[in-house]
Symmetry: D3
Subunit: 341 residues, 6 copies
């Protein structure tokens, strides 16, 4: 495709448009015509559109389709989008597997994976903004933001988990930003409420803890086209211990004082609260207690909202087959409501 | 004491002042002088001052002290406060047990019980203010505020528990206000975050649930001079079920729709989340999930802050003898800090 | 079917008889004759008989069978029962879906659901008889029997549960009657045994508690042709709390004294004994203790007996796939025993 | 005491009576008169009366009292009971420690231990009567009654436990008789109810199981003056396994068929239902299920009744310091009731 | 097969060899040739070889294959082993089902079941050798070895369990030998380490306990061609209690002293340590503690090693579908390693 | 004490000997003579002897005793040991608090703390010897022994715990050496037994893991005269995580390969096996499984042996008041045995 034309995306094309774009071969099946002639039905997709159409046995692509095209592989296509009686179809002019160099043209192997509905860059910026405002201790703030900056690229795409909650691209940022917002609101509230506490409840430490509580996922998980998978050390050691490693490694040589660092480590270690929930130690500081609740609520809330959104039924309750393993109450549809939707 | 003078309070008196005031006889002990003559040492107190002094055997009050004065009873005294070598003392002019009619002069049998550091009236007003702002559904708002108004006097003084957390006068209001604030912040956050949820996350229901989650304590506990104690129905039935009773009884004849009422009942029923923590049903709505976390965090936070404040030691950790049954981290005192306090 | 003849039932008909009756279309399948001609095989049933037979393509009902007859619907038929080489068959003269007015002629949408082997009316009467004999306190007895009379129709058919134990029509009555019998025997025994107990063990309260312990199922479950299903409030609140509601609502205005009512409420609340088994409070009275054991034994006994009866194997033990999730011992069949049965 | 007079008992004596009797020295304390002369205050008791009185330093028994009398030992006394200003007192004529031969005169080392309020012989006879009526299989009946007859003497006095429930003399018989009665009532009920069960529910096996479920206490406990204590094998092996031993040893050479014996062993093994409650296997037969409930109810009922009777307070609830470790509801005293008692 | 030739085994035959041997018909499937002619594909196996080959429709065995040969039955074959293009095949000369008398010729119905890779006779001998060396008390040694000698034949083949660990022929011996070795090493270590313990830690009792800890499996399990299955008493009573029975029965009349026997019984009873793991009593002697750990480690180790060996995947971790229900870490294959294997 | 004489120890002195030695003032009480003159009774001790004697009011040390001597402080004494009617006494010639420089003369602030009966140097050497023999991988061996060498001084004295097991000086070495011996025996056994495992069971990794499993106690505990106490990080983070830190810090720059290091970290993390026992991850390698059992057995064995040795009673069982919270079986004393001891 040396005579390259502007790269577009499948889901942005309009009927009649000819474009170069990247797509995943999502499906390929052998079918037969009424008079018994075999042909293939293929589906190409990107994150926003899936197009299915036949490759007839007399097509110029018939042999390649049969022998070479692999479901699960990405291709660069030059094709025209057509609106037929059978829905949208592609008339393929050229097609080849993607190459390493296509990344320069914007090819992203994660292009088809589900992703957060929030913009990762905006979430990242808000996180930095919160750190700026809420962490007064300069050494502490630089430690936290430094860790983020060192792993910016991964953090922008990483899911929060393999399954369970926020298990889609940028899910990590979405979850941790919510936890950080919750933490900030709550800790500022309690800092003021218990203004005579000694030591006083520390807004900066709590916010820093919220930002870093799951940072070990950087080492526990590997993000791939099919979602996150566990690393060997992730399974054998786990993100709680690995997150503390990242913090301790980054803290070497900084001016963060020892007690602050210890409190921050403790937030990471204690954020799941009970041994059977994964934490070797329970929260023993107000800051660790707040981060635990801010985290637990956000994780369960996302599971609950997703359970309602994804439940296939239309009853008052979802089934138990969701991340919370319990029914969620949706309530009755108002009369007429079903039709409007 | 017909020739009544202005009623003052013990803790407001200044040395040399003569005043009429109410006080609790907190202690009475027989001691002996160096030459073997017995005398009594008595302690009178109100919420802000305790004064201990001798009643000598030749005092005009000696016989009454020995035969009539009961530790734990309240007295009306006319006495002069004196600053002696042995600390503050009272020279009693007149003394008699309090009478029913003293309540008109401001006698309050709860006068010596520990109480919230926050003003109950202000907390009550803030609660009403939040209801006004955050519960849009008028019928629902009136249901909730109506319940509060019907029990205003009790709610102003009721503790939140017999032991555990907020177990002092007005502790109920302090705790529930915190839970309501937390809930409001969190539910507004998630309402906006999941703006496309269907049904949408309901700010008004969550705030109403927060305000009413512990309302059953009205029937579970009785507030007395020695703190809260359990009623028979409180022990046999419990505040979760009794709170739902109060709600259902108040809802009869209102225009709150059935589904809203059911969601509100569910918040009360589910607010302790697990059967072994006291809830027959787990949270099955986003609103119930939020109230659970808002409540659990506030209860544990108060226990933690109180554990630090009340721990008799001065180590880095409190002992385990507190409501959370675990050590809480206080950290090291800075050099020189101890002296200043 | 204006020229109506006497209504009979399918399972009471004898070969050669022509009758009008109601039946459920339980199955409908397309088959083909040896020479390739398609036909339908249909099955009609009531609670006591299922008849399967072909509808040939040249039948007068062929078109209706193909296009209109729905598996799961009830029909009124006029048909002759015939004993053929292929078993009992029906020669249909007339057929139409049931109509609302058929209920007057005895049509019952629950006619095919499994039901208790005991007569509901007889069970109901025995329950009333026990109340009459064992509950001496007149106000209490009238409260309990009044609740039964107000819900007589539902109680006569309601299952005791959706799954687990006694999950068939009138299963509620069967279970609760057993619990009431057990309770009466046991409480009379212990009343006499501990004749010097103060307060004495109360036969009437225990029997009333047995009769009402599961009364909340009236609001927790809805009985339909396919068995019981949960209501929204049943899932969000549960039958223990709802049963107490029914009791409290019925008690308004009666002369049942407050302590008796409280003890009765407590029996309902505590009858499952442990939080993880569903009860917010453990039994704190002898009467509540007895009802718990009477109930728990009867539920498990029915599960055990049903597990043996329904286990498809013929080994010494049933499999674990039953409501108790454990093997039940059946023992060895004696030689020759199998043949006799 | 060669010139023996009729032996009486301390609690049957009347003021002014001189008698020979056995008594336990329950207490001995050194006190001093107003003018500083030391004397002893001693207490002698039997099961029905305790008498405390001084032994002055000039008494003929003064030296023996000081040097020889041991608290916890039994003595034979010839003494006169006197009604003094200080209550009942004894004027001792003769006193010596009990001897082995005193047992012929009715001395019983268990004479002071608390005991069942029911007559052991009558309970034993009722147990035999039930066996006669309810166990039809002759070999089985003889096996069970044979075990009882072989251990008749121990069974008549043995407590049911060291602590917990029925922990007094003849407590074993009282408890096991109750369990057997409960079992018989329940199993006859279910035998009839599930008359079509295959195999049918076996009344004789259940009743035999009830009678033997705790028989291992014969080897687990040793009965002494101070109540029951554990044997080494009782602690290391336990009464469930040891009861099965007794049964198996007795069954050798009888005609009880193997399956019946196995079902009976299983009842013993499974009667505590859950591993953490002491049973290695859960009930897997209807008979074992019934015996479990009959046993569990009786044990808890006795704890509850005893908790109410022994609670030192007079509130609506007992404290938690009882065998059930929970408050038991006693209810309000009626006005005036307290005075009458 | 009157003209019997030397009996061989399938897995010892070489291509071209004609032999008489026993084999299991492991599989039989109907297939069709390209031109539509049906034929059978059969698989015969012994413990070391499985041979699959066609039985054409014109074969002399075709009718018998279709009508008589049963998958799961054993046959005696005279056949020639041939190495074809399609792998090893059998040309069957004669075939008949095995008969009772074939056992004399070495037929063993367990011939195809998986078995320990260790020689049972050698393991048995080592066990006796350890008893000889490590159990000094002669009466005790003879008790233990006597039990083994009485059940020698069963012990040589018995698996250790139906599922879980060592669930193959001779698995009992393999497991118990490992436990005995572990126990001996550990108890000799601790005997020496705590040489001043009183009583001293007893090597002989611990080793005897190790040898007998699972002896009840003799009564709990029945070994058959398809592996071990539970007896009725095994399910209702269990191997822990039954093992103690075997010991006690064997101990009657021996000179083993009572305390030693009690300690040995306790080891059996306590070897699974916690009630929920199957032991009614926890280890209360050092010897019981050692046997528990020796046993628990060996069982889990075999599960872990088997999980790695049998996991179908090739990732760094096994799946969770193994006896331990958790992933096991296998680690990365070195580059090139896969090819070598 | 310039005219210094040879330093001896209190417990090595013989009656009549005059010596210089260090001792702890363990007790000091005011008593009075028969004629009412007050005097002090003081106790001085070292690890092997405690001497109690009076300081009369006319003694030259009377004023210092009263005003300066502090219980819990160490002193250097020059005194003569005398054997009086009241036991051993000291006639003090000179006495002063110990000074920093006394350490050069052998003063050790831990001199009175209980300590292992094994020689720390010998245990340390055996540990190094095992490492030498059993860890073949040179980089791994040097990593492990390097950690030991860097902390040699602390490891020689450190207890294994504050309470529970091996909670005395050098208890760490004693425990870890036992675990390492157990591990070595067991892993060599299983390495050979499963010689075909892939990967093979790694003797060196298991032994290294045993040596390091508790190394985090270096940071969790601080050893003082009154035993071990927890550091702040020990309570907030815990020795499992801190031990992994020590390992990872020491591994930086070594040639230990990544997979070996990960397996070693996993042994530390998993050595307590279950979350509720303290391990965030369960053993997922054979080596981790072995170290867990070797550790758990040794800890419990020491508790059991200590419970028997320290139990104050003389019954067949110890009480439950020991580290295992259960009775331990000691057995009957042989007749005559009691007298000899």
């Amino acid at each position: 495709m040396s005579d390259a034309i502007e790269i577009t995306t499948l889901h942005e094309m309009t009927p009649g448009e000819l474009g170069d774009f990247f797509a995943l071969l999502a499906d390929k099946q052998v079918l037969a015509t009424k008079d018994g002639k075999p042909y293939y039905r293929v589906s190409f997709c990107d994150a926003g559109r899936e197009v299915s159409f036949p490759i007839w046995s007399d097509s110029t692509h018939a042999a390649a389709c049969r022998d070479e095209w692999q479901v699960g592989d990405f291709y660069k296509l030059r094709a025209e989008l057509r609106d037929s009686n059978y829905g949208m179809q592609l008339e393929i002019h050229r097609i080849r597997p993607v190459e390493e160099s296509d990344k320069q043209d914007g090819f992203d192997p994660l292009m088809c994976a589900p992703r957060s509905k929030f913009d990762p860059e905006a979430m990242y910026d808000e996180m930095m903004q919160i750190a700026e405002e809420a962490i007064e201790d300069e050494a502490l703030r630089e430690l936290v933001t430094g860790i983020y900056e060192s792993h910016r690229e991964e953090l922008l795409v990483m899911p929060a988990a393999q399954y369970n909650h926020h298990s889609y691209l940028s899910g990590y940022l979405e979850h941790v930003l919510n936890v950080t917002r919750n933490t900030r609101m709550l800790v500022e509230q309690y800092h003021q409420l218990y203004s005579d506490a000694d030591p006083s409840i520390d807004v900066g430490v709590a916010v820093a803890g919220a930002m870093l509580h799951d940072i070990g996922k950087l080492r526990e998980l590997v993000t791939g086209p099919a979602g996150a998978t566990y690393t060997a050390s992730g399974t054998l050691i786990g993100h709680i211990l690995q997150g503390r490693d990242i913090l301790r490694e980054a803290a070497v040589g900084t001016e963060v004082d020892a007690d602050t660092l210890l409190r921050l480590e403790h937030i990471i270690v204690a954020h799941q609260r009970l041994p059977e929930w994964g934490s070797p130690k329970p929260p023993m500081t107000p800051e660790a207690l707040i981060v635990h609740h801010a985290d637990d609520l956000d994780a369960k809330m996302q599971m609950m909202v997703a359970a309602i959104a994804e439940d296939p039924g239309d009853g008052e309750f979802t089934s138990k087959r969701n991340a919370l393993r319990q029914p969620i109450y949706r309530g009755k549809k108002e009369p007429g409501e079903a039709e409007e939707e």
